[in-house]
Amino acid sequence: MKDKNISGTRYLNPYLSGVLLGLVVLLANFISGRGVRASGAIKSAIVAGAEILAPHHHGNAAFYKEYAAMHTGNPLNSWLVYQTIGVLAGVFLSGVIAGRLKLKTEHPPHITSRRRLVFALMGGILFGFGSQLGRGCTSGSALSGMAVLSLGGFISMMAIFGTAFALAYFFRKNWI
């Protein structure tokens, strides 16, 4: 199956995309001293929510202490949150230009939308939990970690892709 057959649109050359993505990570490090991240934005949102719902409850938890030390002020007023809003804007812009803006559930023809959504929810729960355990997801730990030659970045990358590859056989009916 060729790239363009899946959605009927054309995509940017992957190597060119990779170079551009690398330059963005380089720029992020040059400006802020950190690479790009994604899962941390979810954490910021939940911490902000927890502060509204239970302002004193979390005072003693090491997790929050560390978080508060790294992010002074309002959790939603952090670098990561601005970056994430930017990501959504950038994606939207590309989607508009390429004509890929469409509300739909993407799945292979032989499975139902409902099945796809149930598995998407389960996958999200696993990935969310794992990203906290692994201290960062594919963006912050694997991609940005490898860029600064962090051993954790390489281990993270191998563990994520290795496991997905090892389990691919059992989930093949969902995808091919």
């Binding site: 790239d3 959605s7 940017l12 190597y15 995309s17 990779g18 993505l21 690398g22 963005v24 990570v25 720029l27 400006i31 802020s32 001293g33 899962s39 954490k43 939940i46 409850h57 938890a61 601005y82 970056q83 994430t84 809003i85 930017g86 990501v87 959504l88 939207f92 812009l93 989607g95 890929r100 509300l103 993407e106 959504l117 998407a120 389960m122 996958g123 999200g124 729960i125 696993l126 990935f127 969310g128 939990f129 794992g130 201290r135 997801c137 594919t138 963006s139 912050g140 730990s141 940005s144 970690g145 490898m146 600064v148 281990i155 993270s156 563990a159 994520i160 496991t163 691919a168 093949r172």
Partner: protein
């Protein structure tokens, strides 16, 4: 000509906090635009690498990592960035390994990772939106566990 500009700009206080946040937005726009352009908003393209019908993930991912790696190296050699001030992810071996395994299972089950689910959601993919709901639940479960006194993130350092 020596302008004496040394990165990271924000850490060296060469730019203000507000400028830093504004630039964060544009860095986000750049990464979001690139990720969508190469097809990371489609779970079927992402997962394709595990079934051999689409290798865009590996190409983009490794080209990106190598480009950033070499860029940082040259920036450092040219004296444009102080790598001692750049955040390097600390290694927590077991939590990284086990976390990675759980994330890998989430990847093949859900078809996205957090960054790519933002991509899918922003162009209207319902499966990506549901994946993000799952992310919130997963992160919340972990944080609830932490609140109950178990800090899983520090088994090894």
């Amino acid at each position: 000509m020596n302008l004496n500009i040394m990165g990271p700009l924000a850490v060296n206080e060469l730019i203000s906090m507000d400028t830093n946040l504004l630039l964060a937005f544009f860095i986000g726009v750049g990464s979001g635009f690139v990720l969508e352009s190469c097809g990371f908003s489609s779970s079927r393209k992402l997962v394709g690498v595990f079934y051999g019908y689409d290798t865009v993930v590996l190409k983009v991912f490794f080209t990106g990592a190598i480009t950033a790696m070499l860029g940082l190296l040259f920036f450092s050699l040219f004296g444009w960035i102080d790598l001692n001030l750049v955040y390097v992810n600390e290694l927590f071996l077991w939590s990284t390994l086990i976390g990675g395994v759980v994330m890998g299972a989430g990847f093949i089950t859900g078809g996205f990772c957090p960054g790519t689910s933002f991509c899918g959601a922003a162009i209207g993919k319902k499966d990506a939106m549901v994946f993000i709901i799952g992310l919130f639940i997963g992160v919340a479960i972990f944080m609830a566990g932490i609140l109950c006194g178990r800090d899983y993130t520090r088994p090894h350092s």
